[in-house]
Point group: C2
Chain length 249, copies 2
Amino acid sequence: MGTSPLDRIRVVLVAPLYGGNVGSVCRAMANCGMSDLAVAAPADLDLNEARMMACHATHVLDGRSTFATLAEAVADCAAVMGTTARRGLYRQHARTPREWAGKALEAAESGSRVALVFGREDKGLTNEELALCTHIVQIPSDPRCPSLNLAQAVMVCCHEIFVASGTFEPQTEKSAEAPSALRERMFELWESALFEIGFMKEDKAQHMMLGLRRILSRGTLTEDDVKILMGIARQAKWAARNGGQPGPE
Amino acid sequence: MGTSPLDRIRVVLVAPLYGGNVGSVCRAMANCGMSDLAVAAPADLDLNEARMMACHATHVLDGRSTFATLAEAVADCAAVMGTTARRGLYRQHARTPREWAGKALEAAESGSRVALVFGREDKGLTNEELALCTHIVQIPSDPRCPSLNLAQAVMVCCHEIFVASGTFEPQTEKSAEAPSALRERMFELWESALFEIGFMKEDKAQHMMLGLRRILSRGTLTEDDVKILMGIARQAKWAARNGGQPGPE
């Protein structure tokens, strides 16, 4: 656990009002491999609601630390990244979560602690709180509806850092991309099958086969895909000779 | 409104259980400049809860269309992107939202409609529903806590498409980056000020000024920043000569 830079990313909520939001924040953090939650000056939170929304991430909720002020919650953090939806004084240097994600990871990888700071649901962070921040974050949003739900804002910031960390291993195709020789065997088989089932005659064959090549070259074809397509052609040939009776296995 | 490709991105919720989630989805969509919400086979949704969570995005909630099945909800969509947290049959070709975002926008820009499909809160999409999808999306998440809240999953997918669309105009510094000549005038002024206030002597000056250059070169300095720093140096010189009395204006 202690070796991932994600363990050194702290989410700090300033004076959150709703337990449900705090719970949703816990779940979003756990989705992104983070667990260090600090709450500064919380209201009287509904912890039942928080627990319900935290879902499988109650360990984040139970492990949270509580501070009287933001200054105390970030005292041991080198980079302090504060989020804002508004523009204006103190807020001109804002960058998007994607632009700061590398910076946050760089600091965390070097052993420093990094704080992501989120303000009140209704009023965000005060100018005094933003002054404590070394970096200002503005989440891209439509100017007609710029303000995100607190937990959604946390999700976007954590997602950007999680993706940038390269921790997530995407699923890979089990079957390799088919090489040209295998694809050509398939096209030969289809050509002869399309003759045998009476779909095309010699004079149209070249045109039709080019059309089929175009359709099947638009996306990646794996070896498994080619085997399925060859099986179809073989079976069509068999059926054409045997009058549509079920074939040998 | 009708000219943005974002208007041709439809979010489809299959059999959502909780009104609060549907409302949060509306807000997330509006944050990302989207408004086409379709609900397939909804449970008896708590619309008061939905309205509360939709916040300023009640127009998305009120404008939603309802269908009996997923097939009907996506009938007019060219690209159908289905989300899944599980792995297995039908789910091997999954890519991340960031990897598919370009594809979704490309289709939407060409005038096609694109569906982003999200399954039930508890069980996701069935294999039959996934079979209707042309693209499978898997949101990067920690394998120890892989399942996202429904509205969080929508937020991540919409955020990735919104960012890729280049719609968001990031805030730019009002003040340009300071050119070398202006920076050098500032360093000269600081050097003379640091002599005048007695902070350094000739033999240490070069070393100290290199340190100051290092500190002030670590980040970008705008013309406004340099003017502030020059003002400090000027005032320090004035104060050193006038015994700390308040200066002229």
